[in-house]
């Protein structure tokens, strides 16, 4: 078998493969540090039972759906109180309820969002309107 212009095609292929695998070998051995979520806000530390609205696993995977649901209930249906499975009542508000406990946005929200490669301040765009809690830097 004969390849026409092999002297150009083979080096070209090697360069092409090198370029498209560039991100892999450039980042080799440099694993991004896993997110460290901090739960040590003053309010959480004072809680006897450290329990969020839903169990931790559900919150981790489904907090966005919950927030979406809360938005619809408050803005569109006018309901403002959420009753958790344990009967505890919550004011359905990101800005007035969630951040009462999670008052450390940079150590809590941002940790995973940055790790997942979401652009801070644009995705998810909660804090372009909702006012983020004041944090001691």
């Amino acid at each position: 078998m004969k390849i026409y212009n092999a002297n150009k095609i083979i080096p070209g292929l090697i360069i092409f493969l090198g370029l498209i695998t560039f991100p892999m070998w450039y980042n080799m051995g440099k694993a991004a540090p896993p997110p460290e979520i901090k739960f040590d806000t003053p309010v959480i530390q004072q809680m006897a039972v450290k329990q969020c609205v839903l169990p931790k696993a559900d919150m981790r995977t489904g907090h966005m759906q919950l927030l979406n649901e809360w938005r619809t209930q408050v803005v569109r249906n006018g309901y403002r109180t959420y009753v958790a499975a344990d009967g505890k009542e919550y004011n359905m508000s990101l800005q007035n309820e969630c951040i009462k406990c999670h008052s450390n946005k940079t150590q809590f929200c941002d940790q995973c969002h940055v790790y997942a490669g979401l652009q801070l301040g644009s995705v998810p765009y909660c804090w372009t309107c909702h006012i983020a809690p004041k944090e001691a830097k």
Partner: protein, 260 residues
């Protein structure tokens, strides 16, 4: 398997019975705790309305009083952009000929011609903004409030074209840099590219408070209540005073009334 008509019908009936029982199973399986509920203190109404007593405002109010506007803007983090073209308005003033076009006549009292009129979103029963909104970001609530879901607004500004009262403002810039008052940490700001307007203080009604402007007016020129409730404050005032509404000829059925 040998199937005859009889066994087939039996099986079919059994299946239909099973399907019919599904809602019952669903209802029994649910916990008796409600998932969401209303705040027990929330003010409830069928159609919220406001009466603006301009006569009292001019007579009793100190000259240049802007208490209601200030209270509204502080409560809702309304920016002060500083240019007429890009300004954001929730509650503002207009001269008579702009507030009530077509109702001017030749020799009106000087105060009517010269004094400012408080104007805001009219929360129309037949709101044109709701009809034109392509995403249902603006919608009518059961209590008569023409409400906005800022999350859904795509900034097309159809509602601004539709509103005959100029009650809607577009955020041309990030409004955060233009909030001159102290930030209200319990209410969000808006972002660039969304439309905003008066929400009749839905967030305050939800926790049992009257609108901020009504509360702020020390001279009692603003009255708030349920138009459908014959014993409400607004109905009593409407029954005892002659009131007008803005551009009634358009058929939008506004919920804001004026005593002049």
């Amino acid at each position: 398997m040998d199937t005859n008509r009889r066994s087939f019908l039996k099986l079919g009936g059994l299946c239909a019975l099973g399907l019919g029982a599904l809602p019952v199973v669903d209802a029994l399986g649910k916990s008796d705790l409600p998932q969401v509920m209303n705040n027990p203190q929330a003010l409830v109404g069928k159609r919220w309305a406001m009466v603006v007593d301009m006569k009292k405002c001019w007579e009793k109010g100190k000259p240049g009083c802007k208490d209601c506007i200030l209270a509204c803007h502080v409560t809702h983090n309304v920016p002060d952009i500083g240019s007429i073209k890009e300004e954001v308005k929730w509650l503002w003033t207009e001269p008579f000929e702009n507030a009530f076009p077509g109702q001017e006549s030749q020799f009106l009292p000087t105060e009517v011609m010269e004094k400012p009129f408080m104007v805001l979103c009219n929360h129309c029963a037949q709101a044109p903004c709701v009809r034109v909104c392509p995403t249902q970001a603006t919608f009518k609530r059961a209590d008569g409030i023409t409400m906005m879901d800022f999350h859904r607004c795509i900034g097309c500004r159809y509602c601004m074209a539709g509103c005959p009262y100029g009650a809607r403002s577009f955020n041309w810039k990030d409004p955060r840099n233009f909030i001159k008052t102290e930030l209200n940490m319990t209410f969000p700001t808006r972002e660039r590219g969304v439309v905003e307007k008066c929400n009749f203080c839905d967030e305050r009604l939800g926790v049992g408070k009257i609108p901020a402007c009504v509360e702020a007016c020390k001279d009692g020129c603003l009255h708030f209540g349920d138009l459908q409730d014959p014993n409400s404050e607004v109905r009593k005032i409407l029954a005892s005073h002659f009131t007008i509404r803005r551009k009634p000829e358009l058929g939008t059925d506004p919920s804001v009334y004026y005593i002049i």
